[in-house]
Symmetry: C2
Subunit: 208 residues, 2 copies
Amino acid sequence: MPVRERILKTAVDLFWRYGVKSITMDDIAKELGISKKTIYQHFNDKDAIVKEVVEQELACEKTDIDRLGAESRDPIEEVLKTSDYVQASFGTISPVLLHDLKKYHPRAWILFQKHKHEHIIQGISGNLKRGIEKGYYRENINVDVLARMRVEQIEMAFDPTIFPPQKFSLVDVHVQLIHHFLRGILTDKGFTIYNTYVDKSVIESNHP
Amino acid sequence: MPVRERILKTAVDLFWRYGVKSITMDDIAKELGISKKTIYQHFNDKDAIVKEVVEQELACEKTDIDRLGAESRDPIEEVLKTSDYVQASFGTISPVLLHDLKKYHPRAWILFQKHKHEHIIQGISGNLKRGIEKGYYRENINVDVLARMRVEQIEMAFDPTIFPPQKFSLVDVHVQLIHHFLRGILTDKGFTIYNTYVDKSVIESNHP
């Protein structure tokens, strides 16, 4: 792997595990067994690495989530599959990561906000509309209101002032919120489909 | 009414309608037909008025909401009654109010946050526990997670960056979120009760 890609890969690993603030250029160099000078040949500063890492991760996430949508048999399965995917990612992410981005890396944070509005809210709205069309979601939901609320829930799960990591596990919070969200929009017909998925789901059976 | 109380009452009216930032001591004096000097005999600055206004309003809200709880036949009716009460208040509140408090009046904002943690989250948790006990709410909800999520939803409805007032009505957002929240926690038994209330509700029948 070229050194530039190795730097980015190592940075992602470290940022995801420890957040961004606590990781220095020294830490990245040490982890790679290269000199800091080599890193600076490719990146002006940590902020440049952070921005590129976030860009790559968001693009990758979009591809993954689009694929999950295409592979799903119906909008309910799509939500549950996406949720499993997000949970798997959450497992490896430090809860302070979003907080660090917001506070110390505004350029990367703006990318994240743009992604949120252009892709995540659009994606959720699309799912809601398809679910209503199929009669699985209530007709009287306001798609725009609930899509925005849902995206805020995703961010909320990461917010240590709302869910302090000493007290709450990110995965637990996420599972609670996604099942609550889905149940809140289902019709009777939708519940029938939902229950067939939940019965099979290991995650749900861990929360009897 | 003594002049001190008249100042507070007028300040509440103006703040609620226009937010805090855009209202000056001059505006308050003018509205009351008194001199600014008279206001300064009672309050050091606008921040002192804001703090006292918020204190009074929160105490008043707590009394009202406790009373609504005591008057309700079951936890579901309690949620719906509280929701109607909050909506009635929302109708008279400028959407920029909480935003102004957070940004320009940290002392009042801290009061609000304290109230949120000591009373609102406790109140919601109590409701959730009573609902589970009666078999109206699912046993497998995490009370602490959902109570915190719900209180964030209440704040979210006020956030102009999430729900721009040009595009969303505060009451619509609130109605969507409260019914979604309730549906997300109900058992079949709970739905039976919920439906009897919703059939009667004017608000819900406006959103068929």
